[in-house]
Symmetry: C2
Subunit: 433 residues, 2 copies
Amino acid sequence: MAKKTHAETTALIVGGGFAGVACAKKLAEHGISVTLLDKNNYHQFQPLLYQVATGMLGPADIARPLRAIFAKHKTVDVKQAEVAHVDVANRTVRTTDGLDFSADYLVLAMGSQPNFFNTAGAVEHTFPLYSLDDAERLRSRVFEVFEDADSRPELVERGALNFVIVGGGATGVETAGALADLVNEVMPERFHDLAIRAARVYIVDVGHALLAPFSEEAHAYAAKVLQRKGVELRMGCSAKEILEDRVVLSDGSEILTHTVVWAGGLQAPQLASVCQLPQGRGGRFEVERDLSIEGVPGVYAIGDVANIPGADGHALPQLGSVALQAGTAAAHSILADVEGQARPAFHYHDKGIMAMIGRGAAIAEVGKHHHELHGPVGFAAWLGVHAWLLSGVREKVDAFISWGWDNLGHGRAATVIDRPDAARIDWGTEDES
Amino acid sequence: MAKKTHAETTALIVGGGFAGVACAKKLAEHGISVTLLDKNNYHQFQPLLYQVATGMLGPADIARPLRAIFAKHKTVDVKQAEVAHVDVANRTVRTTDGLDFSADYLVLAMGSQPNFFNTAGAVEHTFPLYSLDDAERLRSRVFEVFEDADSRPELVERGALNFVIVGGGATGVETAGALADLVNEVMPERFHDLAIRAARVYIVDVGHALLAPFSEEAHAYAAKVLQRKGVELRMGCSAKEILEDRVVLSDGSEILTHTVVWAGGLQAPQLASVCQLPQGRGGRFEVERDLSIEGVPGVYAIGDVANIPGADGHALPQLGSVALQAGTAAAHSILADVEGQARPAFHYHDKGIMAMIGRGAAIAEVGKHHHELHGPVGFAAWLGVHAWLLSGVREKVDAFISWGWDNLGHGRAATVIDRPDAARIDWGTEDES
């Protein structure tokens, strides 16, 4: 390709998550013309979706319109569009509306989708936690079942107040902690008659440790904290089948419930399969150290959709911080291409991993250092880390304030059931039951 | 009925709007056992729904869970339930779930529903602004049409960026002002290519003045401010038919649009017709000065569902402040009944009426006094009045902060399209159009 100036160079980024946004920002800083495609009009702060689902934060606290993020970046053109086909050889993308986009550089950053591992009934009867829509639908269901049980106490025996979380990773543990707090601290103030103590939160995980990527101390600490909150752990056990009104486990036991949260893992999205690229573990694209894809010049893959080699040669985990850093690194690779330099290799700076287990406890691990954070200190640390990651001052302040209120007053103003379609369960009428 | 103590006395309130909540609070203060039924789990601040629809406030800023409002009122039992039948003679209510509730006193406070005046296509193709669900669906549509037009500029000619508001009362004027601000101030920052100037906001009203209940000065001021913002007024003209892609007006002209806001008036809800009570103007119940209903002892009607006689004998308007005061007054009437005293007559204290016309201007009228409020002063006054009416400290503070941010930075974090079902329009594919 003939040598172009920065201003003449175009890049097309598919996906406005941590990776895509970081890449677009860095490219725009250097004057590259960027088109950013996303099926939603917003960037979401994925690790806090469970807070929306449990009514602690509102959707606008954890999502920001992509156009607002790039309002000042005049060379970034945001398009809300669903991608239908990707032609990597020609770096061209076709949307479901029949529009074509192409550019000198193509960055694949389309994220993940839940991996249901072919579990029967999981698609139909579980709530994944991957989009704002998912979180809002789950929230409406959670608050609805309490209302239903309050009107018809006999529904408690039919599992109305049982919540089953499939998967004991960070999302599963954080969701279970937040649900347990809801049951133990918030709901008793709101329901004067209902036998809230009948409510149960379960975690089902096929492994033998919660928070598997963390240390053994963390596994034990998470289990201790959750059990103290009343969460029942069904470890070494998988969900064999999800029915409308129950979960059947691999040990043959059943849990009656209408609220199953799917936190059972991620895989490459459907869209990855239309790129005609080899797909590795989890359906993800194998990338080089410089985040390029072998054999297709000018094409990069970053974030959850890529298996990015770490220092030890193993793929880095699907984490927001990896996506964020890889996004910036891919931009540097593209800039090196434009300038005719050698592309730099991506080095991930491990800032550690962190999980919040309900209101009072958090775990942070940096390298070999294991920190158990209790009470307000843990809360503040956890909050600080997340607020720092949020893109945009307004979100930071709002989320802080919402959290502050919640911590002080058990406020949870965001507990409105505004998705009646997702909330409603046909329990049958009084006579039938 | 045998004389009962306050603690033995029960009241059943249908509807958790301004009227029902005020009534329940006052009764609870005096130890009466209250059951409050509402089909939603939240109380909403109706006059600000248009702010949710235009992305200025989030749903949680203007709605509060009923259970949170009554968390400290142990004698108030909130039930989320849809009412199917009301037997006023026996003061008994049956829900759609088949549950029965009855009490010594029955308070009908079920609010309003939009009045489409049998306009063809209005139910199918317009967005009313009466519930949180309505506002969120409208918001998603508003932001979606900009995205659609950005992807396919030819859609502008098909009316993608035309917004038609049917009705020039307070809701219509406030919505038009907010939409015009969105078009003029917010969107140009977000869409770098789109010809935003092609966007049009219309008000269609069969009358000859905007804000009819206000003074003539207000009519002129509202028209002047809106026209300066680019709003086109089609006065003396009604919407004859609403189609999927256009509005047909009574003068034979058409406006191409996919976003029609119905602000054309209110009537008693469907539920009023199952009470077997005479229905007066607008389908509402005629009440006595003490808010009781003639011929059915122990039954009261308040808020939008009642025609409440004012000092001059004419019915008071359907306003939040009337509902709030009538709710408290109905509680006093019930307390008088319990104590064997004469029921006091309700006297409405007119605090005036107010409307905001976009960011920079507001009108307040108290009695014969007409105030035009400009810039930050008008904004602060308007905000103060509304914040004062909001039930709950958290909402006041949050709404203030959201507004402050918005006023300072054109933030509008709440502009996420999180209701794709309501947003999506089938424009046909590229080839067909």
